[in-house]
Amino acid sequence: MTLSLEESNRAIITILGRDQTGIIAWVSGRLAEYRVNILDISQTIVDEFFTMIMVVDLNPANIGLVDLARILEQEGNEKGLQVKAQHEDIFTFMHRI
């Protein structure tokens, strides 16, 4: 099996920050607006610190990954959250051959 180098259009969105109401509502609302499909969500809170990892599919999307990453990062910043959207290959490549 060869690793998907940009063959896939999946991305990982990570959100880190102090827990507050509406984080998931905000991000999923934004994703729905851009027609980005959520494939998986895992979320935990440790000592009021919110971490969420989301796997999304940009195939049906009407926005590119680079723009999506920029918008989520900016809006996340305003809420005091560190939000990253990165192509999945960076995670698969780093840990596997």
């Binding site: 180098l5 880190l16 990954l65 560190q82 960076i90 698969t92």
Partner: protein, 455 residues
């Protein structure tokens, strides 16, 4: 399609990038200029300018797009070209300076950080073009911003060209004198090699060797901060465990280089050459090779045990990295520049790290005496003797060694110089007061060594 992401792996990747300074140091595009020759210097300048801007015109944009897509910083985009002494062998010294300015103009046009290849390979002797280029180096580097120069003065197979060593001492001093008001920055863009690699993406020594394809993408990774962190987390690990930890980390760092190299190659439609496995520090706090050695248990980098610690580090980086990439090349090892590494600077300041110890350390790592400020009253012959020592280490040990020293005009040992950016700043280091003039002035070549009877 299955979803097989481990939460810990995702968190680790993010932490390495955002907290431990993991980045891609450089995407370097190598471009052949062998077809740019012309009797007419103006025509030749135009051909070189056109070829670079055509091939690398999209390099910066593509680098920024890839960086945004994967969420990993790519610090520099660079170009390396065929050694100008070969590509423009028929030119005189003044014309060589014009070519350097052409390279500079092309670099500015496409927005890259550096362009390397104002270079000559003179390990066995000089051609007319080599001499013209070497004589042009001081003016070329002091009157350009982005151009980097390198001269290979020895190899294991040919021995050391001591005439070239003598000349390069003078050239380095002249570079520093011409840019004395900027702490000798022209000398920081010049490196003297033994066993220079032809596919090195790192500056100042990058050039596009004659065995290379028309155009190629090479990638240099960084990541001392990541290694320093993992070494710190396991203070009780014995040497086998320590080596394994570094190997695992180096694997992950190098995979990033492999990913970015493949992506850049695909986007630019240029073949992917190599990943250079080097651990390249930056002046940023926490991105230091010295800190890795100190985290292994040395009170200060440079004390007894430093060479052994560095040997282990360098070997483990290569073992881990080699598994991670299809093609490894360039310099590949831990770098120990002084001014570019906050931990090295500190070690010099407290008196733990000396020039002699750095020389010993270069026996077991990449690359050589790098980014070291020398007292301003250093003689050209002393610089030549420093080059000869370092070249001898490379020649005998069948490895690349290099010298990039910067005479700090008007300053003495202990004073500080500042170059800024990735080059950083450093205290001026003390040198031996005794002369080597008669030795380096003998002329001729040091013969190539036996490579059997290897004790």
């Amino acid at each position: 399609m299955t979803i097989t992401f481990a939460r810990e792996e995702i968190q680790q990747t993010i932490k390495m990038i955002h907290e431990e300074n993991l980045d891609i140091r450089t995407i370097t595009m190598g471009i052949s200029l062998l077809d740019c020759g012309s009797e007419d210097i103006s025509r030749m300048e135009q051909k070189i300018y056109d070829k670079i801007t055509k091939n690398a015109g999209q390099l910066v944009t593509v680098g920024e797009q890839i960086s945004a897509r994967y969420g990993i910083p790519i610090i520099n985009k660079r170009v390396s070209v065929t050694p100008i002494a070969i590509a423009a062998a028929h030119l005189n010294t003044d014309e060589m300076v014009r070519i350097a300015k052409t390279l500079n103009r092309a670099a500015r046009e496409i927005g890259i950080n550096f362009i390397g290849g104002f270079s000559a390979l003179v390990q066995k002797g000089f051609t007319v073009g080599d001499l013209a280029l070497i004589d042009a180096i001081p003016q070329a580097l002091s009157e350009t911003e982005f151009v980097c120069s390198s001269v290979n003065i020895g190899t294991t197979k040919t021995g050391i060209n001591m005439d070239a060593v003598l000349k390069m001492g003078q050239v380095i001093l002249k570079c520093a004198q011409l840019t004395a008001d900027q702490d000798g920055i022209a000398a920081a863009k010049l490196v003297v090699f033994c066993n220079a690699p032809e596919d090195n993406p790192f500056m100042a020594g990058a050039f596009h060797g004659v065995g290379e394809p028309e155009c190629v993408i090479n990638v240099g990774v960084s990541g001392p901060g990541v290694v320093a962190k993992v070494v710190k987390e396991f203070p009780a690990a014995d040497f086998s465990e320590l080596s394994n930890l570094i190997k695992q980390t180096s694997f992950k760092i190098t995979r990033m280089g492999e990913l970015i190299g493949r992506a850049a190659s695909k986007a630019l439609n240029v073949p992917f050459g190599i990943v250079d496995l080097s651990l390249a520090p930056t002046p940023a706090i926490g991105d230091s090779v010295a800190e890795i050695l100190e985290n292994m248990g040395l009170e200060r980098c440079g004390t007894h045990g430093t060479t052994a610690a560095l040997a282990l580090l360098n070997d483990a980086v290569k073992k881990g990295g080699a598994m991670a990439s299809s093609h490894v090349g360039g310099l590949s090892g831990a770098f120990i520049p002084v001014s570019e590494d906050a931990g090295m600077v500190k070690a010099v300041e407290v008196g733990a790290l000396t020039l002699d110890k750095l020389e010993a350390m270069t026996c077991v790592c990449s690359v050589g005496l790098d980014m070291i400020a020398l007292p301003g009253d250093v003689s050209a012959e002393t610089i030549s003797a420093i080059i000869a020592d370092e070249a001898a280490i490379g020649m005998i040990n069948k490895k690349t060694t290099a010298v990039r020293v910067i005479p700090a005009i008007g300053k003495k040992a202990g004073d500080r110089v500042e170059w800024g950016g990735l080059l950083g700043g450093a205290p001026v280091m003390a040198i031996h007061p005794f002369s080597s003039k008669m030795f380096v002035s003998r002329g001729g070549r040091i013969p190539a060594p036996l490579i059997s009877l290897s004790n």
